[in-house]
């Protein structure tokens, strides 16, 4: 039985194919101007990887900001539900899920069965989400993937005064003028986002084990800042963290088929 979960994120569309509960295909692409078209193409890529045809897919569940635009879907689900489901599948004793996307962030509290008990959302402001690190990488003139390793070389913590992406860009420009070492600036960026994420998590209460999802989880510098701020060692970052929400949707699809 083949099930698919598609996460129509604000920035990237992610798709996971499950065959009998095992991941057999995975694809990601920039949502771009035509998210619906992107959805079709990630489906094609994942199917190819799995050696399957579209007709063999029994059920598709769509989630994410653009879920209404997903073509040929059998149902939709909230990101909160999918994040919890995906995290629980990978880390069965999870109690707190943190999902940081490009434009929205979520903190979810689950019970021992992986059911959502409570959640908090950071939305409509670019400061506490992926958009912040992206903008700062541009201001620092490094690739987003380089931000993490760069920040881990930092030797001092500098607080950022700005609480807004636009003001932070100006602040970075002036820090560059004042010859602040780049690793320290990168660390400041991660500390800033982590602090906003942690405030969100505190609203639902932080109970370990904590699972971190979303593209930003690939950023080792951010994970470091988050771990320090949450004061827990029980922070898990699964492999392919940006796909876990889509995985949750696929698992839901599989259970409904």
């Amino acid at each position: 039985m083949i099930a698919a979960g598609i996460d129509m994120g604000a920035k990237n569309v992610k798709l996971v194919l499950l065959r009998d509960g095992q991941v057999v295909g995975r694809a990601l692409s920039l949502a771009g101007f035509d998210a619906e078209q992107t959805a079709r193409s990630v489906m094609a890529v994942a199917l190819k990887e799995a050696g399957l045809h579209r007709a063999e897919v029994t059920r598709v569940i769509a989630t994410g900001a653009g879920r209404e635009d997903a073509p040929d879907k059998d149902g939709i689900m909230s990101e909160v539900g999918c994040a919890a489901r995906g995290a629980f599948h990978l880390v069965p004793d999870v109690r707190t899920v943190i999902d940081i996307g490009a434009e929205e962030g979520r903190a979810i509290r689950c019970d021992e069965q992986g059911k959502v008990v409570d959640f908090a959302i950071n939305e409509k402001c670019a400061a506490g989400v992926g958009a912040f690190t992206e903008a700062m990488a541009r201001a620092l003139e490094v690739k987003v993937e380089q931000l993490g390793p760069l920040s881990l070389r930092s030797t001092q913590a500098i607080p950022m005064n700005a609480q807004c992406v636009v003001f932070a860009e100006s602040e970075v420009v002036s820090m560059i003028h004042n010859n602040v070492p780049r690793p320290d600036m990168a660390r400041a960026v991660h500390d800033a986002v982590a602090s906003r994420v942690i405030a969100m998590v505190r609203r639902v209460g932080c109970n370990p084990p904590v699972v971190l999802l979303g593209g930003v989880a690939n950023n080792t510098g951010f994970v470091d800042s988050l771990r320090r701020g949450l004061e827990t060692e029980r922070l898990h970052v699964p492999e392919n963290p940006e796909f876990v929400v889509a995985l949750g949707a696929a698992l839901a699809a599989a259970s409904q088929a």
């Binding site: 409570d118 959640f119 908090a120 950071n122 939305e123 409509k124 402001c125 670019a126 400061a127 609480q163 807004c164 602090s195 906003r196 405030a199 969100m200 505190r202 609203r203 639902v204 209460g205």
Partner: protein
């Protein structure tokens, strides 16, 4: 004077309002805040009267600073600063 300390952004409006005419300068709110959000300042430039205000450090991240006192799932949490103020000079907008 009604001083609204805080900010608003795309995600909402987050203001702590302090009515300096009601504030009697007792500093109870400053002491009771677990995040040291509140400070006493000389608000009126012509008078040497201290009233409560949100510190510059916290004003722009008040949502973050006050988060521990406002867990989800509680519609109207009893806020320590509001409870401590006998003059009913403090209000939160969220």
């Amino acid at each position: 004077m009604q001083a609204h300390h805080g900010y608003e952004d795309g995600s909402g409006r987050f203001y702590i309002t302090i009515d300096s005419q009601r504030c009697n300068g007792c500093e109870a709110c400053v002491a009771v805040c677990p995040a040291q959000v509140l400070v006493m300042i000389e608000e009126d430039p012509m008078e040497q009267v201290l009233v409560a205000a949100v510190s510059d450090e916290h004003r722009r991240k008040i949502k973050e600073s006050c988060a521990p006192c406002k867990p989800t799932g509680h519609d109207s949490p009893t806020l320590p600063c509001v409870a401590a103020c006998e003059s009913v000079a403090i209000q939160h907008s969220w």
